[in-house]
């Protein structure tokens, strides 16, 4: 039975955003890029993927690869809310007593593979999808990509090869938040018409509002989008979603807020405050 009630997901996503804001201090993190991916990641783990705290080593689980690794606070926040990771551990961000840092690594349960160097996990996910096909398994493999990441040629190599091997068990999801590190994608290396590009490479493509659980639900309920074809879902999102003071700002990719700003932003997230940020802006990495 399909569950059309998304209140629980909305509540979870709000808590994940709180975690991200709290991780954006004492060294900071990629706040803007994490906030755009929250709803997508919460939806996938809550409703779509067969992944939970009890099956993380089961070969019959589904797989999610976060190729756009710098948005890992969204993933850790989701893990914390869904019981895969103790919430207390999020406080260890960037501390030597744990392994929670700016990019994903397999010392954290639920992380299938490390990432950080862009354009790698499309091929790693491709290898897992190939094995599932060879083994006759029906598990799904998702790889989440950033839109800026699509500058890397290896993303497109993987699409070509996935097309050749008819990997309809593989889903590439693009977090299309319109920004790469320093500026809008269309101002640096234009990507549009993006759906047409993937389609021309042989993929079955859908495009939805990546902040709408109903739209994500409808699109992914149609998985596989077309038998024998790589699935590509372009999720249109907003950098910094949920925080008007940093939304769609080129200079708020990586944020390191002061403790006072964190408190103000938590209020802003709940619509109770307008924050004036004074912490330094863009940190180019």
């Amino acid at each position: 039975m399909e569950n059309k009630n998304y209140e629980e997901l909305t509540a979870t996503a709000l808590k994940v955003r709180e975690h991200i804001i709290r991780m954006s201090t004492d060294g900071g993190c990629f706040t803007g890029a994490s906030l755009s991916a929250v709803d997508l990641i919460v939806y996938l783990y809550s409703r779509f993927l067969n992944i939970n705290k009890d099956n993380l080593n089961d070969p019959d689980r589904d797989y999610l690869f976060l190729s756009k690794g710098h948005d890992v606070p969204a993933l850790y926040g989701t893990f914390a809310e869904l019981g895969l990771l103790e919430k207390e551990r999020l406080k260890n961000h960037l501390l030597l007593n744990d392994h929670i840092y700016w990019h994903p690594n397999t010392k954290i349960p639920g992380i299938e593979f490390h990432s950080g160097s862009l354009g790698h996990l499309p091929s790693v996910a491709l290898g897992v999808a190939l094995d599932l096909k060879i083994s006759g398994s029906t598990n799904k493999v998702i790889c989440i990509l950033g839109d800026g990441e699509l500058n890397e040629g290896t993303c497109w190599e993987a699409v070509l090869v996935a097309n050749a091997y008819k990997l309809d068990n593989l889903i590439f999801i693009v977090d299309r938040n319109q920004f790469q590190a320093n500026m809008r994608t269309e101002e640096l290396i234009p990507l549009e018409p993006l759906a047409d590009k993937f389609a021309a490479f042989g993929a079955a493509v859908k495009r939805v509002n990546g902040h709408s659980f109903a739209e994500l639900d409808e699109a992914l309920n149609a998985y596989p989008f077309q038998t024998g074809k790589l699935n590509v879902l372009i999720a249109d999102t907003m950098r910094g979603k949920g925080l008007p003071s940093i939304q769609e700002r080129a200079d708020r990719w990586f944020c390191n807020f002061s403790a006072g700003e964190v408190e103000q932003l938590l209020l802003e997230l709940h619509g109770e405050h307008n924050t004036t940020l004074t912490s330094e802006t863009l940190v180019v990495r």
Partner: protein, 312 residues
């Protein structure tokens, strides 16, 4: 037994083995028909092949992957380092036409820094067989190991019957007190010729096949440098980062020193031509090696060097 026969036999006996290639099929031509879905050709995509091999290994497979040495180690370097090395996955790299074996291709295809860059990746083991007999003797252990591995594929025939392979051990061919030649790969056949000439000149000569370059046989290096007046490192590789460097590292680590003559490529790519001409031009024939060590010309006869078959 040939490389292809060994790979076929191994893959048919073990369902976990996956054979991959970035469209270099010279030594795996008959595999598709025998392995079906367990043969994967990703096309001309070395990076994607390596990444996909990591994904397959995550699922418990042992991918044996093929590409030309320069593209496998350099085009795909970061994928080997980041996806295979960091994760310490049992991906087995088989590199075609390494070193002088790229003969007429030109500098784009010359992998003469491959040993240096592969051994620099934590977890990655490195091997360079003297000929096909040596190759098929080492591969079963390399493929059974849990470590990522880089092997310089060398299918030349020398007629030499090699000792059984032991991971991390060199093969001592002969021992001597005047000079010991340490070498690996296809120059082994020229070293055999040089040894005979040096012996004919009255020298006590040793020869060691450094088939396992990482892990390396430190004891063999220390023993050779202790008992020989001169140690020669002979390699179709840049002088930086290969066997000469390995010997220097081992000696320094053990607070030892030796009189070492490196015969390698010094800050230059080699002149492209068919293999016999390359060896002659660059000074790597057995006779030229012997004369470099002796310091004078001899009347010895250099045997014919066979041209390898074109393999792409």
């Amino acid at each position: 037994m040939s490389y292809e026969e060994l790979l076929t036999q191994t893959a048919l006996a073990d369902e976990q083995v996956i054979v991959m290639t970035a469209e270099n099929r010279a030594l795996v031509r008959n595999l598709p028909a025998k392995l079906g879905k367990r043969f994967i050709d990703t096309g001309i995509t070395e990076q994607t092949m390596v990444g996909a091999a990591a994904g397959l290994a995550l699922r418990g497979r042992v991918p044996v992957i093929h590409a030309l040495a320069s593209f496998l180690t350099m085009r795909a370097f970061e994928f080997v380092r980041t996806d295979v090395g960091i994760a310490n996955l049992p991906v087995k790299l088989s590199s075609f036409i390494p070193g002088f074996l790229s003969d007429g291709n030109g500098p784009t295809h010359q992998a003469i820094e491959d040993i240096s860059i592969m051994r620099g990746i934590p977890n990655v083991t490195v091997f360079a067989p003297a000929d096909e007999d040596d190759l098929v003797k080492m591969l079963p252990q390399i493929w059974e190991s849990k470590s990522p591995a880089y092997t310089r594929i060398n299918t030349r025939q020398t007629g030499y019957n090699h000792a059984p392979f032991v991971m991390g051990k060199a093969e001592v061919i002969t021992e001597g007190t005047d000079v010991t030649i340490l070498t690996y790969g296809l120059l082994f056949e020229q070293a055999l010729i040089a040894v005979e000439m040096l012996k004919a000149e009255g020298l006590s000569v040793g020869l060691i096949n450094m088939r396992s370059l990482k892990p390396v046989d430190e004891e063999a290096i220390l023993k050779a440098s202790a008992q020989s007046k001169l140690v020669v490192t002979l390699e179709d590789h840049f002088v930086t980062g290969g066997l000469y460097t390995i010997v220097a590292e081992v000696l320094l680590k053990n607070r030892s020193t030796a009189n070492v003559l490196p015969i390698a490529l010094h800050e230059k790519w080699f002149r492209p031509a068919l293999l016999p001409s390359v060896l002659e031009y660059e000074g790597f024939t057995g006779k030229q090696i012997a004369e470099k060590i002796l310091g004078y010309q001899t009347a010895h006869h250099q045997p014919e060097i066979l041209t390898p078959e074109f393999s792409e």
